[in-house]
């Protein structure tokens, strides 16, 4: 099943005093570029990194990341 991971990191950073990507990265052991890639939805972080991000913002994981499954492709159905 294909799908897309959406995240609210940009919003959460804004709500936490406009925390910079570099600062967030520093707190969870990732580079600024990796945080930027996660925010842009171009890189799916490991489960541990996802939990660390949620922990920084003190929210549940589901409040940071959402999984949106794509509609099944009718052409691939038997």
């Amino acid at each position: 099943m294909s799908g897309v991971i959406h995240n609210k990191i940009r919003t959460l950073r804004f709500m936490h005093g406009e925390m910079s990507q570099a600062e967030l990265g520093l707190r969870i052991g990732l580079t600024r570029q990796t945080i930027a890639a996660i925010e842009a939805g171009k890189y799916a972080p490991s489960l541990e990194a996802a939990f660390r991000i949620a922990d920084v913002f003190n929210v549940p994981l589901a409040d940071v990341f959402e999984w949106h499954a794509s509609a099944p492709d009718s052409t691939t159905q038997g």
Partner: protein, 141 residues
């Protein structure tokens, strides 16, 4: 630009600067069969040492210009990018070694085999660096 992308650019550009002339010259003036071929060995040594010197100086310059970033360990995305790039480079290298070790001994000899092996190693290194650059440019892992 991420520090590791700069390092990959350094590696790729140094390969282009040093080894395009080396392999072009070697192709245009095929080494003779005499052993030892001191002229070809000297050219080979100059190319390898030049590459090492460019990489060494380049790393020093990059480290001094990005001191903080250079000290940071690779994060999970850096590792994933390197892992994927290494897979592509391995494909190139193993193809080259099959060519050099499995076919060329029956059709070629001497410096042709040595230079083809050397070329495939350099090509694998170039593919490794190019894949890393592409991943950082596209923000993918």
């Amino acid at each position: 630009m991420p520090y590791r992308e700069k390092v990959a650019w350094l590696s790729l550009l140094s390969i282009l600067v040093v080894f395009i002339p080396y392999f072009t010259w070697s192709a245009m003036h095929p080494p003779g069969p005499e052993i030892p071929n001191l002229k070809q060995m000297a050219f080979y040594a100059v190319a390898s040492l030049s590459w090492a010197a460019i990489l060494g100086i380049g790393h020093l310059v990059l480290r001094s210009s990005s001191r903080v970033e250079a000290k940071l360990p690779m994060d999970e995305r850096d590792i994933a990018i390197a892992h994927k790039a290494r897979g592509y480079a391995y494909g190139v290298l193993i193809t080259g070694m099959i060519l050099v070790g499995g076919f060329m001994p029956f059709t070629n000899g001497g410096w042709e085999i040595a230079n083809t092996a050397f070329f495939m190693i350099v090509l694998a290194e170039a593919v490794f660096s190019a894949c890393i650059i592409r991943a950082y440019r596209r923000q993918h892992a």
